[in-house]
Symmetry: D2
Subunit: 400 residues, 4 copies
Amino acid sequence: MTSEYGLLSPGAHRAAGMADDDAVVAAMGRVEIAWLQALASVGVIEDVDKVSRMIADSRIDATVLRDGAEASGNPVVPYVAAIRSSLDQRLAASVHRGLTSQDVLDTALILLSRDALGRVRGDLTAIVGRLAELADRHRESVMVGRTLTQHAVPTTFGLKAAQWLSGAIDARDRVDGAAASLPVQCGGAAGTLALVGELTDDPVAAAAAFADDLDLVWPGLPWHTNRAPITAVGDALVAACDALGVIAADVALLSRPEIAEVREGAVAGRGGSSTMPHKRNPVLSILVRSAALQAPQLGSQLHVAAAQAVDERPDGAWHSEWPALRRLLELAVVAASQASELVAGLEVDPAAMRVRAEAAADELLAERGRPGSPADYVGATTTLIDAVLARVSGEGPHHG
Amino acid sequence: MTSEYGLLSPGAHRAAGMADDDAVVAAMGRVEIAWLQALASVGVIEDVDKVSRMIADSRIDATVLRDGAEASGNPVVPYVAAIRSSLDQRLAASVHRGLTSQDVLDTALILLSRDALGRVRGDLTAIVGRLAELADRHRESVMVGRTLTQHAVPTTFGLKAAQWLSGAIDARDRVDGAAASLPVQCGGAAGTLALVGELTDDPVAAAAAFADDLDLVWPGLPWHTNRAPITAVGDALVAACDALGVIAADVALLSRPEIAEVREGAVAGRGGSSTMPHKRNPVLSILVRSAALQAPQLGSQLHVAAAQAVDERPDGAWHSEWPALRRLLELAVVAASQASELVAGLEVDPAAMRVRAEAAADELLAERGRPGSPADYVGATTTLIDAVLARVSGEGPHHG
Amino acid sequence: MTSEYGLLSPGAHRAAGMADDDAVVAAMGRVEIAWLQALASVGVIEDVDKVSRMIADSRIDATVLRDGAEASGNPVVPYVAAIRSSLDQRLAASVHRGLTSQDVLDTALILLSRDALGRVRGDLTAIVGRLAELADRHRESVMVGRTLTQHAVPTTFGLKAAQWLSGAIDARDRVDGAAASLPVQCGGAAGTLALVGELTDDPVAAAAAFADDLDLVWPGLPWHTNRAPITAVGDALVAACDALGVIAADVALLSRPEIAEVREGAVAGRGGSSTMPHKRNPVLSILVRSAALQAPQLGSQLHVAAAQAVDERPDGAWHSEWPALRRLLELAVVAASQASELVAGLEVDPAAMRVRAEAAADELLAERGRPGSPADYVGATTTLIDAVLARVSGEGPHHG
Amino acid sequence: MTSEYGLLSPGAHRAAGMADDDAVVAAMGRVEIAWLQALASVGVIEDVDKVSRMIADSRIDATVLRDGAEASGNPVVPYVAAIRSSLDQRLAASVHRGLTSQDVLDTALILLSRDALGRVRGDLTAIVGRLAELADRHRESVMVGRTLTQHAVPTTFGLKAAQWLSGAIDARDRVDGAAASLPVQCGGAAGTLALVGELTDDPVAAAAAFADDLDLVWPGLPWHTNRAPITAVGDALVAACDALGVIAADVALLSRPEIAEVREGAVAGRGGSSTMPHKRNPVLSILVRSAALQAPQLGSQLHVAAAQAVDERPDGAWHSEWPALRRLLELAVVAASQASELVAGLEVDPAAMRVRAEAAADELLAERGRPGSPADYVGATTTLIDAVLARVSGEGPHHG
């Protein structure tokens, strides 16, 4: 397998095969098979197992589809043609019968989205676990609180970890929300299920069976021009990248040599420079931060498209979603995986934190108006940490 | 009252006073009062009613705060100074005691957000009602289905209205979700509630009382660097603008003279041209469409900021949220109000729809393979419409 | 004067009156007067001085226009109506004769853009001067070079200032490029100059005279749907904010207490905290950084509009430009002014730089492979500085 | 060759091999060779032809680099390691000597950018030629002028083509501007050329020779943190997509069956539907329009990164540029190629235009106030067309 587009997205291989062209082809196949099963379930056709197996076993090279994808404006038309060309005429006619290209591609992208959301969720859960541990362990790790770049009052690393944790839980809630009701797309040429209605008395039952087969939701009507399902996926993944970006920004900052209160775990070969052997760059933080800077524009792209979904199926807006959604799926999956590794390996130096806090005690306690130890002025940090930890175990309040 | 920034956002007066500087000042006052009440409720201070009333009655001109806002980087510092300057020393000291600027400004912006979400919700509900009526009434209004700009198969205007309706309901769900758990911000200088902890044994109780007083949620800890509450508001409003934008794009298109299947309701003086007296421009559609083109970039801005909320309180990212959030609040409120008026007055011409559909019958029925009337090939439109109408009355499935 | 929208954009008063509603009204008046002069210059009408003076002297309150602006979709229609209402019928008919709303509003926004570009240029020139001084003065101020947050090899503060300077010169070049050929908009209802052609044999001569009167360029044809002039202004201002943002990010970082190699000049009352009297926040850096985070989305908005300028005059895309352009003009003017003040007052601590560099000498010289003093390993910094300084005096190469 | 990411960007094969991972590897090789030649030219090393040939002939699979790219944060580190591993120790040491990863990757991306700009320029020139022909040929092709979706006054298709042409010429000017001074990146670890200075007395001469070898500009100093060269490329390509997007939006609209004044050239197999054999979708217009909707967010991404290029080399902002730049290069190249084909094959129906204009004559001439033929009220269209045609031959004024 060659990776044609990973080199400028370091770590891209963490999402290898998840949403590349082969994955799109496979997802389209999965969708066409589910539709055959749905038609069978409502009695339109019989004996679809053989043709389903043939589709599942077909090895259609994405490059073969490229001319057809441009000629028709989407990859479904040449894909269906390729599938049909290997079947006898009767079977060929049953494939894709009653669907439109957008039914297949939207559903395929929803399947890829489900996969990506699941992976992100998994990594967020690992992150939540690790951060809960850090928050609990570092309740007493007093450090300088920094606001607008300057020293403010004392805090603890436990609370900082709890803040990251709170962000990660919120992100996971968003991801869960987006994953909860991912819909099948099913409407036919102009969203009326008209051709399906020629085949069966209850075309909506076919749509519902289609959804069941894919373990997706049938939302009651097609959403060719109501792109809320796509933007909900996008918004959730952007929100997840936001939360990861905050962690990465903090780690990158706190691992600066002048601060040196945390650092990324040492991994052989990681963080090296091409010219300076001693350097240990916070590579995971940098890459996660880079992802967090990219996600908002990708999410915005989905909304720019959604806002212009005119007619029964739109003229370009729909098409502009595809690369942005795919890129966002990969970006979030890679960033979540990297961030999971980042927090798993994070080295915290409470002694360095304490030394700095004590050296800055006068400033840090100026608000209080009485001198003393920074450790005496950490407010409700423990209670605040407990509140987030309660959310981990599902007891606490939540927002966002 | 002069409106300094409305002229380039036609219809801006629909949100007059909602989020301008005076509204920000008033919201900051409301927040400071709530905090006084909260401190009183936990026994830190007494007799706050008088000072609360003084704050409520103060008429602080926003322009007075401008130099101080720049010098400190935010409007809270000069606002608090202005309030304190009118109080005796003891009372002055009690105002803002234990809070940080971000506590006040974030909470004030949440109050403005609640107001905006409420208004958008109100207009979405009106839109839902009207679209439900249109969807039901036009079940039989056959029209050409258009995909990728070309004629596809027949549909009905009822289904088109149901699609808009589905978008509006999804948008309302998003708005409700964002409004459901708007949090108070409360953490003090570095989010530890340290100074509050000097005043009372249970600083978290003060924070919770603060939230209660404002009818907001206390999320368990401050969210100075976890901007999910802000991006959730932003994402919901962008999603609402998406849904409104689709309606506007369709109306603008269908009211083109060559199509002329719908048009905006006639209102004296609206839609006129500066040079062509006969013109009747679809002004509301144009303005709503314009808003829908703007919202994604504003939502993106909130995420760009959220992804970089470093330290205990960030160095510029937070500041970059404010104008974008305010603009998005106003944009969405104005667009929802205009869209409500647009759908309320929409004139539908089913005869024109039918004439065109019948003239194009051969093409529209090509998929079916049998000639006939377009009205015979509208598939499951009625069932699909029913599914959306069921959601209006709270019975149907939903997605997004 | 009240400022309704400044409070959430600290420093907004630096651009007071430049692009608010009153400024738009004044610019529209300036445009209508220029058009009268142009018509007079080609002999269409006579004696325009009196009516020009009446327009110039009219004090039309922007709020009066707000209903008309929404009803017509733009502020020009009610503005022209208001002007005409104060004139006798013959004079009234001559005002705006042959123009369309977009001619007036586009030209008015170009006038505002010219003003903003001029102000930004002025501040960039001040910045260039100050940075040239810093680059020259700090040729020997050795400091730690930082890459990917870690210590790399030595550099000098002179080279850092030269890098900022290089960015500022590039930005000024971009601003100059955008300002060089700002065009008048002139096309009439659908860009054909048809009505003007009823008035005079040579309507293009009128357009050219119109441009001359405003000291703008007549580009040979209207650009109602070719938005390159607007996006060129936007791109230049975004590029300027990029350059300023880099300076601000560096200053915010280097003035962190753990680094403390530079800091913003002390100004009474600036940088204070609402709760911690000792704090000196790098407020200007924070505000400039905040602006730099906002500019890209505003520039993007202009392109989203430009890409969809359909028909002879577009249906919403044009409208979506206005608030973004205005906001970007103000943002850039304020940021440039703040950045100018920032660099003017910047305090550099070469001793602190040297101490840190020497302490880190082993690491900083690892690449070289021989121990020694960081000052011995600063490479071509002096030559590189000279290259930028040569650009200041107009001798050097340039890029971008 | 398999294309892993083309399927969701129909037409992506038009840019096949231009900027994929293999192209990045090849460009890095080209850069490392040029650096060897540069070092040889200043006498640092001898006899580089053999090693240069070995690098040129090496066939390094991008997938081999992926782990190293993540471990180091960029693909240069593993690339250099791979090259060195195939050389003897002395030669190995000379490769990449004195450069930093960013020198190589930035320069490689500039080389890819040059290629993309050149291709876009080529297609814009073809578009300019074709549009000039259309503008000239259709001077008398009277059509309805449309503003804000409604009929306004008459225009000619010649003027519409001239407007598209004006946009294309402006775009080409922008592309030429960006291509004119593409710089080499050369600074070493922290932009001081320190290690190069250990090798030769005149490190800047080496940098200049490096630039010469690649036919790029040496800008006088490195631009690791001054990203103007990258954003200038981005802005130019976005502007090009804007201009192409306007053409596409107009063609998509005017080829609607209710208007039917132009249509895309018929190409066997293009524009077909998966279910409706009669359909002829304006596929090229849809794809170009889709590209135009995507470009602004990619350009914005480059600015978001540029605004935060902190330190001597930044911590994530730089990394976030790469995928956006690559995607924008490909997007613009594909869109320009598709648009070139679109205008080359465009079918114009002047008879349909005339029939509609005459049917609407009363409305179209309302502004004039006298009835007549639309052809009598086309204003200065001919002169305006001539002005743009003069620009084609390099005589006319220009803006933007």
